[in-house]
């Protein structure tokens, strides 16, 4: 057993893990973060995607010990404290970017990272950018719409933050 300290969705955890434990199994089985799911054994499907220090990773191909001293954000940690949804969550809902919803946590986490890197992605760039996340239900079209809609929303929010004087009404 190896001891690790990890900050997950804003909470600090210190736990003993087997060195072979995958991050996704640590999240699901030790922390109960079952919002993050496992869809394959070969890191193809991306259903387990989380953020490690702000970068999207497939948590099935990261060992829990590699997360020691780092911050993990899962699908359960991206909404605001007041419960209001992240723009990407909102856009997936608005654009019908999910059907069964199993790929959705990973898809949303991958898409947030994509938009951080490229705030205004074209359809083609979105399609290439989420290539590592498989969905069997939607045919991807509404996922692409959702990512572009969220990107616009996030740009607007960033713009508002940058230009509005402090104390401006929300």
């Amino acid at each position: 057993m190896t001891q690790i300290s990890v900050r997950v969705d804003g909470v600090n955890y210190t736990d003993d893990v087997e060195p072979r434990t995958l991050l996704v199994h640590y999240l699901r089985e030790q922390l109960g973060k079952v919002g993050t799911v496992v869809g394959c054994d070969t890191s193809n499907c991306g259903a387990c995607t989380v953020h490690l220090d702000g970068e999207a990773v497939k948590s099935c191909s990261v060992l829990a010990v590699q997360a020691d001293g780092r911050a993990v954000t899962t699908i359960e940690g991206i909404a605001q404290d007041d419960g209001s949804l992240h723009p990407m969550q909102k856009a997936f809902h608005e654009q019908h970017g999910l059907q069964c919803g199993f790929c959705t946590p990973g898809m949303i986490m991958a898409a947030i990272d994509l938009v951080h890197d490229n705030p205004d992605p074209s359809e083609h760039e979105v399609r290439e950018g989420i290539e590592g996340n498989l969905c069997r239900c939607t045919g991807y079209q509404n996922i692409v719409r959702a990512v572009q809609a969220a990107a616009a929303d996030m740009r607007g929010a960033a713009h508002a933050t940058a230009t509005e004087p402090a104390g401006a009404p929300a």
Partner: protein
């Protein structure tokens, strides 16, 4: 290399109406109620379940396609850390019963015993041979390595045609052959159409082809999982299934656990596509182990387990002949199929080809019709339902052969179709296969689809590229399909020897505060029933959409149901909701009359309120009546204190969605690469309850059909190992592999149900595959290419271009003896190469 001229930079504009408040819920693009938990990770996937003392099961699976089990040494595994128990097939032989097949398609159908865990022999790679129960998932997995199985290899048969040959190895050595059943429908014999032999003997043109429907894997995103909690002599089973009600009944019959002692729950289920229309060995095994150990157990499969042991789909060899006159009027179609059942018959395996048996005539008027199908055993994973289940196979064959006939006749493929399809004023139309097609307008759907994709411009560009000998050629393919949905009239299922019925059930509970619970017997796993059923109930009851909660997927809550598959849920289950709502309104009307001191006949009901005609202000809402029911202080004499209602709906006919799908592809003749340039569809799925959900279903279905044409195939090596056993090898398309879809609808209400819906779950998947293949061939026919086997990989496309014809595929398949790209144009010839050839 020519650069694409007009690849759109943005996704097509939505053609959906705005989400403003129309008077009715039906037709409104409501955002889904289901999403809230799914986008936040607050889900109840079966694998999320944790129960006190729960043990984790891991299953050792056969690496042999056919072998006798000489011995199994579990000693080391039993001693491994964390292991609580190990079971083999022999340990469970007395209690495991046999897995069921509920569709007896012919009276003499051969149905081999199918134990959930192998006892003496294994018949395919992936069959369960031992179970580890351990304190953790990891400990159970580790112990699998310690089980030592001594196998005696037996001869393997994998190819359907070889399996039927004289002297072939037997999949089941106590049987006489590898044939499970031979089902024939003949319009002449049935009296539903013309004499088939005479039609073909007298035909001016006969075109014969052999098509292969490759083996596919449903590949739902959520791996299957089962949790069982034993409590005394009762058991609760959670399973990632499409069919909790069927699972309950069949498990009771299989294990002997009385049905009333077994509760089955399908919580959030991550996709199915027919792959979870099954009663799986692992459900039986989890029950048996939980019963033996008296402990809760969980089994959750790995993806490689899923691809190897979950049932597969398609896997059909099709010999299809079409007869016509020189003007292009169809006179007959006959199809002869071999369908690989794999090693065993699963829940509805033999019924899958039969579900397409009456659809090989497609949307066309075909005077003579014959269908002939042989189910074949091989040492492979069993096949069963996969999205479309029999109808994609039929649609592919007819839509492909229409193009082949058009080439033979020198006709435009669309003109040939128009000439033969059923006209709007001919509905209801009884086909020579004996089906009554309900409604539609194939001309309008086609005209709209042509407009949608910009057909004339595409044809002009195709011409330019041909003339310029552009290395990238353009092709356009059609699929003017129809399908049968709405499973199913119970009486029809009875005539087909299906064990169950086809009705669906709904209950509506009016809660004291006026809120509404709709309990449905359908079991959604991505289709959005919670949203759409809320819309149906809100309209019929006149209550707010938000005040309705839809409950499903738990046999203790939804007592009666037949679950979700075959595009049946809205058509049959939605209709049951409507029927239940009408009963509630009828009961509430009696209460309203009593409380308003009026005659029932003087009450009008609209927007959820009963009002006395001609007496302004005298009204009661149905939600107020719900509270009056709760208190029952002032209640009509002789009426029970409830306005709740149960209802079922059993359709009298199937429903027949139809549409026109047009695909334009670019084919790089130097690399064999195929790119979808444009894809457009106009679908008629009847009345649309939620256009957003309908659009999503079409997108997803089209994607899966495209994927059959271009990407997916389950491949076995010569020893019977699945070589596409992970997502590295089994190619599911990513967003980068698929185009944007242009979609639209015509609406002809289905006359057979009160919703007017026809079903949409499978339409896209049924329609799209032949449209893609026809498009690729349309691009390459000038280069001498006549056919390309699916999936049309760059290598296959390139070979076809290099070698002409079908790229040598038939020669390598060794099947020219009774099939192949033959065209008979002499009147009176019915060749042994055709579908009725005596090949066995």
């Amino acid at each position: 290399m020519t650069v694409t001229e007009d690849r759109p930079g943005d996704l097509p504009e939505r053609t959906l109406p705005e989400d403003t408040a129309p008077a009715k819920e039906v037709g409104r693009p409501r955002r889904r109620k289901e999403d809230a938990r799914l986008i936040t990770g607050r889900t109840t996937w079966t694998d999320n379940m944790v129960l006190p003392g729960m043990l984790h099961l891991a299953i050792l699976r056969s690496p042999m396609a056919h072998a006798r089990i000489r011995s199994i040494d579990t000693g080391a595994a039993r001693e491994a850390p964390g292991v609580v128990a190990v079971f083999t097939g022999r340990d469970l032989a007395d209690e495991q019963g046999g897995l069921f097949t509920v569709w007896t398609v012919t009276p003499d159908m051969v149905r081999p015993d199918h134990p959930s865990i192998a006892v003496d022999q294994v018949k395919h790679v992936g069959e369960a041979v031992a179970i580890i129960a351990a304190r953790s998932r990891a400990a159970a997995q580790d112990a699998l390595e310690l089980v030592d199985v001594d196998y005696e290899p037996l001869p393997v048969v994998l190819d359907m045609e070889q399996a039927l040959a004289e002297g072939a190895p037997l999949t089941h050595d106590h049987l006489r052959s590898n044939e499970s059943f031979h089902f024939v429908f003949d319009s002449g014999q049935a009296g539903t159409g013309a004499n088939v032999e005479e039609t073909f003997a007298n035909a001016e043109v006969v075109v014969s082809r052999r098509f292969v429907q490759q083996r596919l894997i449903p590949a739902f995103m959520e791996p299957r999982a089962v949790v069982v909690q034993p409590q005394g002599d009762t058991f609760t089973l959670w399973s990632s299934t499409q069919v909790p009600h069927i699972v309950r009944t069949v498990l009771a019959l299989t294990t002997g656990i009385p049905e009333h002692k077994l509760r089955v729950i399908a919580p959030d289920v991550g996709g199915g596509f027919g792959g979870k229309l099954q009663v799986i060995p692992e459900e039986v095994l989890c029950l048996l182990v939980a019963r033996r150990l008296g402990k809760p157990v969980k089994w959750n499969e790995t993806r490689s387990e899923s691809l190897m042991s979950g049932h597969h789909g398609r896997d059909q060899i099709q010999y299809i002949d079409v007869a016509a006159d020189r003007e292009g009027n169809l006179t007959g179609i006959r199809a002869r199929l071999l369908n690989d059942m794999g090693a065993y018959l699963r829940l509805v395996s033999p019924g899958i080809p039969i579900f397409g048996a009456f659809m090989f005539g497609g949307a066309y008027k075909v005077p003579a019709y014959r269908f002939d199908c042989t189910g074949v055993f091989t040492n492979k994973t069993p096949t069963d339902a996969y999205r479309g289940a029999g109808r994609p196979e039929a649609t592919f064959a007819v839509e492909r052969i229409m193009d082949e006939l058009a080439v033979e006749l020198g006709m435009d493929p669309l003109e040939l179709r128009r000439r033969n399809w059923i006209k709007t004023d001919e509905f209801p139309y009884t086909t020579s296969a004996g089906l009554e097609f309900d409604s539609g307008d194939y001309d309008t759907a086609t005209d709209m689809a042509l407009e949608l994709v910009g057909y004339d411009e595409l044809r002009a560009e195709q011409q330019r590229r041909r003339e310029a000998r552009d290395p990238v050629q353009l092709g356009i393919g059609f699929s003017t399909f129809t399908e049968m949905c709405g499973l199913a009239p119970s009486r029809v299922l009875g005539t087909l020897n299906y064990a169950g019925g086809g009705w669906e059930s709904a209950s509506i509970r009016m809660l004291p505060t006026g809120k509404v619970e709709v309990v449905t017997g359908t079991s959604p796993h991505g289709q959005g029933h919670e949203t759409a059923w809320s819309q149906l109930a809100a309209d019929r009851l006149g209550v707010p959409f938000e005040d309705v909660e839809v409950l499903h997927g738990d046999t203790a809550i939804s007592a009666r149901g037949l679950d979700t598959y075959g595009s049946r849920s809205l058509v049959v289950g939605g209709a049951a909701v409507v029927n239940a709502a009408e009963k509630v309104v009828a009961k509430a009307r009696k209460v309203a009359a009593h409380l308003l001191e009026a005659n029932e006949d003087d009450l009008e009901f609209s927007n959820g309120k009963f009002a006395v005609r001609g007496t302004p202000g005298s009204e009661l809402s149905i939600q107020e009546i719900a509270f009056a029911t709760f208190s029952s202080h002032n209640w009509p004499e002789g009426m029970e204190s409830s306005i709740d209602a149960d209802a079922t709906f059993d359709p009298v006919n199937f429903s027949y969605p139809h549409g026109t799908h047009i695909c334009a592809v670019e084919v790089d003749t130097e690399t064999g690469g195929v790119t979808i340039r444009r894809y457009g569809s106009i679908d008629d799925v009847g009345v649309i309850v939620n256009p957003t959900i309908v659009e999503g279903q079409i997108h997803g279905g089209v994607a899966q059909g495209i994927s059959q044409a271009l990407y997916e195939e389950a491949v076995y090596d010569e020893a019977g190992n699945l070589t596409t056993g992970t997502f590295v090898d089994y190619l599911l398309p990513s967003a980068a592999d698929l185009p944007a879809f242009l979609t639209g609808n015509t609406v002809h209400a289905a006359p057979g149900n009160p919703v007017g819906a026809k079903g949409v779950g499978e339409a896209g998947c049924i329609a799209s595959t032949p449209a893609v293949v026809n498009a690729v061939l349309d691009a390459l026919r000038p280069l001498g290419v006549s056919d390309i086997r699916m999936p049309m990989t760059p290598e296959r496309v390139w070979r076809a271009i290099q070698e002409g014809g079908d790229g040598g595929d038939r020669a390598t398949a060794g099947s020219n003896a009774y099939g192949g790209a033959q065209t008979e144009t002499t009147a009176g010839v019915s060749t042994p190469e055709s579908s009725l050839g005596g090949d066995r």
